[in-house]
Symmetry: C2
Subunit: 458 residues, 2 copies
């Protein structure tokens, strides 16, 4: 069931929050041992909260569609009284005394927080094979990674433990697990959702957003978490909108950009075919397809990686005296980041601003872009290189190649499942819009994927 | 004559723009050999423009108080068809094909651009002893520096060559020459005045503003140059105000902060006495003096210096292959800046934001702060250390000690002459306000210094 379906069933008294919560806990108990999606399960607190939600609903004190719905958040969102590890041994015993802004808002919306999802160590990687807390496994094939860093959120939603789990995205960390796990993953515009109380990784690149089982669910969650927060100085004062699209929106009059460079180079052929089919599907629903050339995405990727490495090292440097508390991949990245000169970081930020300006010119010609989310489907756990077409490529570089630049540009993007490869693994379509065009990209996504995403054989 | 007095005389036809321009050119011819304030004199173009201004004024096509007034701009503002050196051999033959935003606005306001003022090489220093174009000399004592980097602007205004010269301020470069030369120097809030077409030094610290012979003149110039400019991405959309204060404003109800820490430590005793007298003067005009402790200014200074060094090196690094084209002090700073790690720069920017937050809390208790602009009066040309009280201090550190942090904080500040030392050298009072409080600090400045600043014996 999607979040909005569960909400409707609650309103019709066909179920209760207690039942939904018990079912979610049962499913977690059954599927967590084989997926490791949940870092922490808050069974008692969730049952309590569900009981309370049922009473509120019975008294018609409804707080909106999230009221009474079991949800999870990535284990980098601070939760008052509940351990928040960030996937790191540095914080394995850290129990915050306050909630992250997103958690506050979800709770205020009546959601039942049932657990914290596992993640790539410190959100600094894309496998979610966590050296301290174990690898997270993809519900579609448990020998494969769910992607990362929000891998637990992707796996938990794909496995139907919860209908929504919050993630964070610094270089693709919501969209990569969304594509590998076959769910919807929304990275809003930079500034749209408060980062207060979310453990930072790359200050100028971090974004918070939901992973869900339907496009409309992503919009319903964004309705609750979007908005200005004075505690996050990058937060935007721009008014929020209704982000839930109609059930069957028309694409008439919309112009969808088809990148002629970069995005359709070096793809798994199944990915290529699936994404090209998405253009046809959009066209059949009334959209106009506009072939165009995009600015130098490879350059923006380089800039985004350099900025991330410098910002992550600046943040975590004080902890590097405890080298044994880091996984090998993360400590290597942190060491590299320390060697970057300030002048390179500053020039990268200057180039980034210039690129944002170049990209802004696209939006006079098209309303959104379609690209593959990743050039590949989920790699096997432990693989460090993947074969893409005829070439070998580093797993991290391959997985982030089509998503990372969007973080540096600060644009909203949603990944939706669109087809599967020859092995049955999900393929993701990335829809990118101009700043604050979340409602538009969700409308387009809904037109292409109006139903709940498929359930893996479990 | 001040700018506004000249404007009034023009309106009453007691003089003409041609006469004002001829007088300015005559004064430049007489005084520039001994001060070196002007890098480039635009005699022909100025005479032409003055003639045109007189025709416009005769036809009552007035463009406001700057119409027909001879002015100068620091030689880092790009001027179409007129060499713009930035005080550097790198640009000794550079003739821009367009005007800086500030120059556009001044021209649109009818000002007669009569010349480009000399400066510290690349605006990267406070002496204005330029190794390529000669030392600029202080009109109050030609063996002394005018301060910098806008030293030519300070000297030109002090010597009465022009009633206004534009400067730029990255770590005190408007306020330091204002105090050493005994004129008014206004550094507006970060984002208030466009930097488009001004050669940058430290992207996140650079500010543009006027040096004038009266407080009201500074307001009149700000009226012309303030406002949003899409070509400068740090430009603020906040509406502009009328910045010209009344002739004799009351300070009734105003709360003036008297810093109990940092600002009154290690001062020349004459400076200390002069600035303490300013508090008495303000109190006698109705203000309330509020003693308070300010946040850690020494830490903000360190942060501001590190940020400047990294940003300047990022910008100028490509030119460092031509080491012989730099002066010794500048090349040393650029070499040091290249060695700074990105992590230090990022953490400095984080600390800066935290400090901005701490500082913001002051403004619930006071409306502005009074501090000395510099702990000393103008040092001798060639001096690298100065005696402050009983101690020796590096000239650059001493001159910037009380002004540099204000750049990192982005606050508006004006330096006004207030008294003189035992040698007759001017002393400056710095008035600092909250963001976009230019009108308020100019009102306070006007109450203390309602007249034209004194003329040095020339």
């Amino acid at each position: 069931m999607t979040l909005l379906e569960a909400a409707a069933a609650l309103r019709r008294s066909e179920t209760s929050s207690a039942e939904l919560t018990a079912a979610a806990l049962e499913r977690i108990e059954r599927l967590n041992p084989s997926t490791n999606a949940m870092q922490t399960v808050m069974a008692e607190a969730a049952r309590e909260r569900a009981k309370q939600a049922d009473q509120e609903l019975a008294r018609h004190e409804g707080r909106g569609p999230l009221h009474g719905i079991p949800i999870a958040v990535k284990d980098l969102f601070l939760t008052q009284g509940v351990r928040t590890t960030g996937g790191s041994r540095l914080f394995e015993n850290y129990v915050p005394d306050h909630d992250a802004a997103v958690v506050e808002l979800l709770r205020a919306g009546g959601a039942v927080l049932i657990g914290k999802t596992g993640m790539h160590e410190l959100a600094y990687g894309i496998t979610s094979s966590n050296p301290h807390f174990g690898a997270i496994r993809n519900p579609w094939d448990r020998d494969r990674i769910p992607g990362g860093s929000s891998g637990g959120s992707g796996a938990a939603v794909a496995a139907g433990m919860v209908s929504m789990a919050m993630g964070s995205d610094t270089g693709g960390s919501i969209r990569i697990p969304a594509t590998f796990c076959g769910v919807v993953g929304l990275k809003p515009t930079y500034g749209r959702v408060s980062r207060y109380g979310a453990m930072p990784l790359g200050f100028s690149l971090d974004h918070m957003g939901p992973l869900t089982r339907s496009v409309r669910d992503a919009g319903a969650v964004l309705n609750v978490i979007a908005g200005y927060d004075s505690r996050d100085e990058t937060s935007s004062r721009r008014p929020v909108e209704n982000y839930v699209p109609d059930l069957e929106p028309s694409l008439h009059g919309l112009r969808i950009g088809l990148p002629e460079n970069f995005y359709f180079e070096r793809l798994d052929p199944d990915v290529d075919a699936a994404v090209r089919a998405a253009f046809q599907a959009a066209e059949s629903r009334g959209a106009e397809i506009v072939p165009l050339r995009v600015p130098d995405i490879a350059a923006i990727n380089t800039v985004a990686r350099l900025i991330l490495m410098a910002e992550a090292s600046a943040l975590l440097e004080p902890h590097l005296e405890h080298r044994d508390r880091f996984g090998a991949d993360v400590v290597a990245l942190l060491d590299q980041g320390r060697l970057l000169p300030a002048t390179d970081y500053i020039n990268a930020q200057r180039l980034r601003r210039a690129m944002q300006g170049e990209f802004a010119e696209l939006w006079s010609r098209v309303d959104c872009l379609f690209t593959p989310t990743a050039p590949i489907t989920a790699p096997r756990i432990g693989e460090t290189t993947v074969t893409v077409g005829a070439e070998n490529e580093d797993v991290r570089l391959a997985a982030t190649r089509l998503v990372r630049a969007i973080n540096a540009l600060g644009l909203p993007a949603v990944s939706i499942p669109f087809g599967a490869d020859r092995r049955g693994l999900p393929i993701g379509l990335q829809i990118v819009g101009q700043p604050f065009a979340e409602a538009l990209i969700l409308r387009v996504a809904q037109a292409l994927v109006p139903e709940e995403v498929p359930v893996p054989p479990l």
